[in-house]
Symmetry: C2
Subunit: 536 residues, 2 copies
């Protein structure tokens, strides 16, 4: 018991293993990560051997022993997400000051579900939501004075991430559409089958482009709407929703007795980074009286750049908007937000209990899908203050410039081609043998269909080998590019949000990919054989 007490009362000594780690983290995070995360990838089944025991250990373990073990089995085999050469994820480097602040947040261990366990954290989170609301909607000062700290309303909901944010938005949309009336207690109380019956719809439908994030299908499943009822609308050559197709599908749904519950625009698709024509989508949503949600989980931070903000024109007409601070806002994992244009919208999901989130309280938990939640909003608050809008603008502009540089650089290579050009800081490309590059651009649909599978094998091989080499990382995805007649095409995907990524590093990443390709003659031969067979 004595030693158990000690872990609650006596800190780690500065010269203990954990004390040293702490200092190393504080003094030079990049050096800590670079020297502790091994470059060479171990096969997963080997790593799993280290995490195979199913019993909770009976006996306590010394903190130092445990920490040593963690360094070797876990930290060494984690992913260096902060590395400027790891440009395949939306997770980027973190500003230094957020680390000690994160520790402070964990030490305070507030629970944001209610005032009683979070006190000042509650108005702070409301302010963060207010600031982000202002960024999107730019309402008047009077508006925020009235609503920001209002007990019965909310400008948004803070949550663990974009998926929960999207689910919350569509939950609100569903409950507002099938709202209580004189003879009906509302879908919240009565359930979805009763709601459809009362309102006389045979189904609810959500419309989103085929580039929509998979979390939207998950939301349709969770909310009882059904994955079949989220309809993927075709996109144009720039991966943006086709407005004509959207209108046509919406008409078909309503003529068939369905009801378009929500239209979802994407501000920065996960796979290509493109932004839907939000303003035209808002028109359609308005004419259908459908909820207009914008998934700006990744691209929303662009609103802080005066230069690039126009790319998101129309977002201010959205009924709800998702933004993840742990993506382009450089905050650690776990900081999602959904914002609501109308502060009364969230009343559709309001709930109370006797011992918590009582009626009339300002407890944040009355309007969130999650219950107990940590004080992550503090890190967003600090990031917004320390970097300021201008700081963010600089970061965002630099990222987009870098993406344009990289696209140009790739285009100039004889053996690489850009597949989707950057609108924000995301682009996709692939390797292609130099003798084939020009010819493929003039190929017939049949010829492309014949060659693409072998190119896909090559792309996958390059991406996996590069990841396993451990020096750099780009991700991969499958697109159906218009220039390739919608043939399913594997591509490298890069996100250039890390401010430490240099042009030189990008050139080295291309060079490494070229070397990997050229060291796989059999795969190259398969491509050339397929080309010959296709008459290219």
């Amino acid at each position: 018991m004595e030693s158990l007490f000690r872990i609650f009362t006596v800190p780690e000594a500065p010269d203990s293993t954990l004390g040293k780690i702490e200092r190393h983290l504080s003094e030079n995070l990049e050096d800590f990560l670079s020297s502790h995360i091994v470059a060479q990838e171990r096969p997963l089944h080997e790593i799993e051997q280290d995490f195979a025991a199913s019993g909770i250990p009976e006996q306590p373990e010394f903190v130092s022993t445990h920490t040593e073990k963690l360094l070797h089995t876990l930290v060494a085999q984690s992913v260096h997400t902060a590395s400027p050469r790891f440009i395949g994820h939306m997770t980027s480097a973190l500003p230094y000051f957020l680390l000690p602040l994160a520790k402070l947040m964990v030490g305070l261990n507030q629970n944001l579900v209610k005032i009683e366990t979070s006190k000042a954290f509650t108005p702070l989170e409301r302010q963060v939501l207010g600031m982000m609301h202002h960024l999107v909607y730019g309402e008047s000062e009077a508006f925020y004075t009235r609503w920001m700290h209002n007990a019965d309303h909310s400008l948004g909901a803070f949550c663990s991430g974009g998926t929960i944010a999207n689910i919350t938005a569509l939950w609100v949309a569903r409950n507002n559409l099938l709202a209580p009336s004189d003879q009906f207690a509302g879908v919240s109380a009565e359930g979805l089958p009763a709601g459809l019956q009362y309102y006389g719809y045979n189904r609810l439908v959500i419309l989103v482009s085929e580039r929509g994030h998979y979390s939207l299908s998950k939301a349709a499943d969770v909310l009882g709407i059904g994955r079949k009822n989220i309809i993927a609308v075709p996109t144009d050559a720039e991966n943006r929703i086709q407005i004509d197709a959207l209108r046509r599908i919406a008409d078909e749904v309503e003529q068939g007795g369905g009801r378009v519950m929500a239209i979802v625009g994407i501000a920065g698709t996960t796979e290509t980074g493109h932004v839907d024509p939000l303003n035209e989508m808002a028109d359609i949503a308005q004419s259908l009286e459908a909820h207009f949600h914008v998934d700006a989980a990744w691209g929303g931070a662009t609103l802080m750049s005066e230069k690039h903000r126009p790319l998101l024109h129309g977002i201010e007409r959205a009924d709800s908007v998702t933004i993840d601070a742990h993506k382009q806002m450089y905050v650690p994992m776990g900081a999602g937000m959904v914002l609501f244009k109308d502060p009364a919208l969230v009343n559709a999901i309001e709930h109370h209990a006797e011992y918590v989130i009582r009626r009339g309280s300002k407890d944040l938990g009355s309007h969130t899908i999650e219950g107990s939640r940590p004080g992550m909003a503090m890190l967003v608050y600090s990031a917004l203050h320390v970097m300021g809008r201008r700081g963010y603008e600089l970061l965002i502009n630099t990222s987009i410039d870098k993406a344009h540089f990289f696209a140009g650089f790739i285009e100039r290579q004889p053996d690489f081609e850009v597949v989707t050009h950057p609108e924000l800081c995301l682009l996709t490309y692939r390797y292609i043998p130099r003798s084939l590059k020009k010819r493929l651009q003039a190929a017939t649909p049949e010829q492309i269909a014949q060659v693409t599978p072998s190119l896909n094998v090559l792309t996958k091989y390059i991406q996996k080998t590069q990841r396993e080499n451990g020096r750099s990382f780009v991700s991969r995805t499958k697109l159906t590019p218009a220039q390739y007649h919608r043939e399913p095409t594997l591509v490298f995907r890069t996100v250039l949000a890390n401010p430490l990524t240099s042009e030189k590093m990008l050139a080295e990443i291309i060079e490494e990919q070229r070397t990997i390709a050229e060291s796989a003659p059999s795969l190259l031969q398969r491509v050339m054989d397929a080309a010959t067979e296709a008459g290219l």
Copy 2:
């Protein structure tokens, strides 16, 4: 740009404001919290003034300036959840070693949605789920060797908290009940209205005791089932579900054309800490072929105590179990888990995408409601190793002993009474003027109904005043105690999980409450007047 770069590359100096905070946190957390969190509560509307601006600041701010401001506006006005005198919450003190480890976790900034952004964190999280599964279900070693790291199965889902865990469990239950068949693609694809129609039920119903957590109603809302279809079953004098009533209501539902989708047992109710008769509930669920879920968000950790584990007898028959590590497992906020007896159960909510959680991958994101998630499982892993099962057993046994001590102590006071006795380490009680205590215990239902409202006013006053005084904190809730003929009764609620709470502190908390009561003669008079009027 230069200075923006610096925040990503140059750490805070050790003698900077933030550097000093870090050191203070590391050297003496309790002292840091005690000296920075002010005792006296400021009114909320005053605190809100500090968080009133709606615009994102244009200009960057120095980290030191910002940190100073945070200390005064936020930290000073946060809640001292780790204080041994704050016994009103389920949030307790944290072991020291978790703070530097939390910072390490944040610095690594892994994203657990997929292997590519989490590598060794993925097998680690699977092991944590395996260990907790073993704690609940105790399957064979062969079972865990087979399933723990299996790509297409999962022993559970890690999530931000108990609410998401409960929603996940009921989502799985719903999708398994209305599963795909030859002529039906399943509720996941077709939606709930189509699912009910296909299977010929007029509604789905969830049965839980009236002490069930509000997150279950929220789940019924989110999942499209409807809050009306979660039926609150009456409890006995010990706040446990009445088995007869459960059986009767289940029969009524099914006779009326409804289908009992799930029965939810509670292992440690939020308000009174009692455990439902899980084994008998499992029998009923089995006979109805309903999913049996146990909400052990708070009480689940009790399974680590050999002495008290029998209290949860029957939990091993549950199809799913919710446990929060941030409650009685002493891990920071944000560590919820749901465990599934059958590793194939989660297939009902499986989902994939092209660029992430591809089919056959071991990406955890294919079986979670959340998408991107932090590596919180690491803190659970470390806590389990450093404290060990025996360490936890000691902590849990001590907490329950302390609750029994406190109940006895309260009973011996002439002017306090226990309202619900502790089964785990939670109890409720109230102040009652000494001249009334005995008389009320023999009062008629009418007399109790007359006196209770004024006693409730007094209880609320004492609780609020004590909180505002800032030295200690108990929470309050409203119960309908059998001994008071179900009259709605406000009570003090205490959770005695903080290992640093001493018997002396508990005595002081009672003394402070007595002093507060005695300094409110008008409220006391109202109670006595009501008693006189009731002929007591």
